[in-house]
């Protein structure tokens, strides 16, 4: 066990993948000599060479598109797009080709590729650097979408993603890269794709979230606790395929749910969770499921991020609303 933050845990997972499988290559803008703008891949090019950790031209469609060919050609590309907001130029390659090559060729050609996307706000970044537009990948059949929120999960999910025979979108919550440290095995291990994690058990209301918002949700649960409300907090960890069972079990018990994510509200992934919950547990619901999300605006620049991002206060208030219904 080694104490790592989330960025280091991903770095460790990348290092393992590169060490244990010759087919693995990491490619992206500035991932090599520079170690990535978040230093996630720091030292990996020195260790594994320029043919394994590859600095690319500034061309996101080019990165993903060539990686499709690399994957079909027997490699296991791990692609880093510098920020989720810069994955849009690659959207056609991802939606039209990465996600579809297996189906198009009926299993003959496959794209075992991991696409790493640092995402989310809260660091006062410039425009386009705080996106949480996972909805565009979620509604694209053929992709799996995972989001770790702890160093342990980050390494474990990355290992699973690299081993997966199909493409995986791997969201990295920027705000958590260096927020917490914990013990993580130095050697490879799996956190299976498709399993939610109950962060804390509770009886009165279920708070469902993922990524950086786990932090706010934990804090909200703590505050609710001081008010005598016992909240169950669940980190879904995988958006696609969603572990509906864990959510259903929890909400059947609590009868109340708040879904929290930082994407824009309309058509964000929270809607999908709500839609499934009402379908599975309608008659257990004591109150409408609340959503606490980003708003239907552009993610604001530094000074007014707090107008946009779900806050502890908003989550607590939403939980109270479900309790008062």
């Amino acid at each position: 066990m080694v104490v790592m933050n989330l960025a280091e845990a991903i770095g460790s997972g990348l290092d393992d993948a590169l060490s244990n499988d010759d087919r693995v290559v990491l490619l992206g803008e500035d991932v090599g000599r520079n170690g990535g703008v978040f230093r996630v891949s720091s030292g990996l090019q020195e260790r594994h060479g320029e043919n394994r950790v590859i600095d690319t031209p500034v061309a996101e469609s080019g990165i993903v598109g060539t990686a499709v060919g690399l994957a079909i050609g027997g490699m296991r590309p791990i692609v880093e797009i510098q920020f989720m907001g810069f994955s849009y130029p690659a959207f056609d390659q991802i939606a039209s080709h990465v996600a579809r090559m297996r189906n198009r060729s009926r299993h003959r050609f496959t794209v075992p590729m991991v696409i790493r996307l640092p995402y989310g706000g809260g660091i006062g970044a410039a425009e386009h650097h705080s996106e949480s537009n996972e909805a565009i990948y979620v509604n694209t059949p053929g992709l799996k979408v995972v989001v770790p929120s702890t160093p342990y999960d980050a390494k474990g999910l990355l290992t699973s993603a690299v081993a997966d025979p199909d493409p995986v979108i791997f969201l990295e919550p920027i705000r958590l890269y260096r927020a917490v440290k914990e013990e993580v095995p130095g050697e490879p291990f799996d956190v299976p794709i498709g399993q939610a994690r109950i962060i804390q058990a509770g009886e009165d209301v279920t708070i469902i979230t993922y990524g950086a918002m786990t932090k706010e949700c934990r804090a909200a649960a703590q505050q609710l606790d001081t008010e005598g409300v016992s909240a169950e907090v669940i980190d879904v960890r995988t958006l696609v395929p969603l572990d509906v069972e864990t959510l259903v079990t929890s909400v059947t018990k609590t009868g109340r749910a708040v879904v929290v994510n930082e994407a824009a509200r309309t058509g964000g992934y929270a809607a999908e969770i709500v839609a499934q919950l009402q379908h599975e547990v309608l008659f257990s619901l004591e109150a409408p499921v609340e959503r606490v999300t980003g708003w239907d605006t552009v993610f604001p620049l530094k000074k007014t991020e707090s107008y946009y991002l779900p806050s502890v206060a908003r989550i607590v208030a939403a939980a109270r609303t479900t309790l008062e219904a």
Partner: protein, 344 residues
């Protein structure tokens, strides 16, 4: 413009191929045209979905594909059935695919050809990645990618050319400049005099070739592939040719071009010029022509038969096509759908 065989069937440079090989490729072009016309006919009968004819482009496709090694990757488009077939993609798969069945997208295991690309431009990057993979693996396998004049306007063309040259991959870019992107003539697609000259933007050789000249296409592609295998990087080949038919069976070229233009290009027919050459060499006669047409037609008919005899797809194929192991979600959806199958 590189030319070896004139439209009159006269050699104006050394032939890169012996006469037997030319005869073999002539036969391939004849077969391809039969396939093309058969497909158009089947489409009119409602037995195929929309079809994109390649008549007029047989030399561009057959000549270039003939230069490939059997393990070289091919990444081509909806209009490149002749090239794909040359590299091993079966006629029956092409028919099956065109009939609206995903299984036609799966070539036999030893055929290194991706299913035809429908999106314009994106697939060139896949070809770059394939040859790059080979390079990283220490193999000299190359890739050849086919695309049209219209495709050169897409950002992905640029990114593919750039990646190929930056990583010096063994990629051969074959642009069939057939004069049109649907209704848009090439001279309004781009302001450069040639597409070949775009290679210079990437420090890559670019060659302009008579795309209706089987021998020139074979030669240019051979040179490019030798370069690729030697580790000297990619090449752009512009094959100047013409689509004699409509863009697809849905298209009406009368809306955007003159009949006269089509007639002019018919005079440069890629098959006829080889026929003349072979005749002059004394290795063509009408009987042989009839014979190969018969045999190839039978082969094609039998491929149609095979494609049409395939049993219908079941739900498992659709829901099972997405991942190596279908997710619980997909299995659940399949079961939701099952009761509604009969009702349709």
């Amino acid at each position: 413009m590189e030319q070896i065989l004139t439209p009159e069937g006269t050699l104006i440079a050394d032939s890169p191929l012996g006469v037997d090989d030319v005869r073999r490729l002539y036969r391939s072009m004849v077969a391809a045209r039969l396939f093309d016309r058969k497909s158009v006919a089947l489409q009119m009968q409602g037995r195929l979905a929309t079809y994109a004819p390649f008549e007029g482009q047989e030399a561009a496709q057959v000549g270039s594909a003939a230069a490939m090694r059997s393990d070289d990757w091919m990444v081509a488009t909806y209009r490149d059935a002749a090239a794909m077939w040359m590299q091993g993609y079966p006629w029956e798969s092409l028919f099956l695919w065109r009939s609206g069945d995903e299984r036609g997208g799966r070539p036999p295991d030893d055929v290194p050809v991706l299913p035809p690309s429908i999106t314009v431009g994106a697939h060139m990057l896949h070809a770059v990645g394939l040859s790059w993979a080979a390079k990283l693996q220490g193999r000299d396998t190359a890739s050849v990618t086919y695309f049209g004049d219209g495709a050169t306007s897409e950002g992905d063309f640029h990114e593919a050319m750039n990646f190929a040259s930056v990583y010096s991959t063994g990629t051969v870019f074959v642009c069939q400049n057939n004069g049109y992107a649907i209704s848009m003539p090439t001279d309004r697609q781009t302001s450069s005099d040639t597409i070949a000259q775009k290679a210079d933007a990437y420090g890559m050789p670019g060659v302009l070739v008579d795309g209706n000249d089987l021998l020139a296409m074979y030669d240019a592609t051979s040179v490019a592939l030798a370069r690729a295998r030697a580790g000297d990087g990619p090449t752009l080949i512009e094959a100047l040719t013409y689509r004699i038919g409509p863009h697809t069976t849905n298209d009406d070229p009368g809306r955007y071009r003159q009949r006269r233009e089509e007639d002019e290009w018919r005079l440069k027919d890629p098959i006829e010029r080889v026929r003349r050459y072979l005749e002059a060499m004394g290795v063509w006669d009408p009987a042989w022509q009839a014979e190969i047409e018969n045999v190839e037609s039978e082969v094609i008919e039998s491929a149609v038969g095979q494609a049409e005899a395939v049993e219908s797809q079941d739900l498992e194929m659709m829901f099972g096509g997405m991942f190596e192991t279908p997710t619980q979600n997909l299995i659940a959806q399949r079961e939701l759908m099952r009761p509604h199958l009969e009702g349709e």
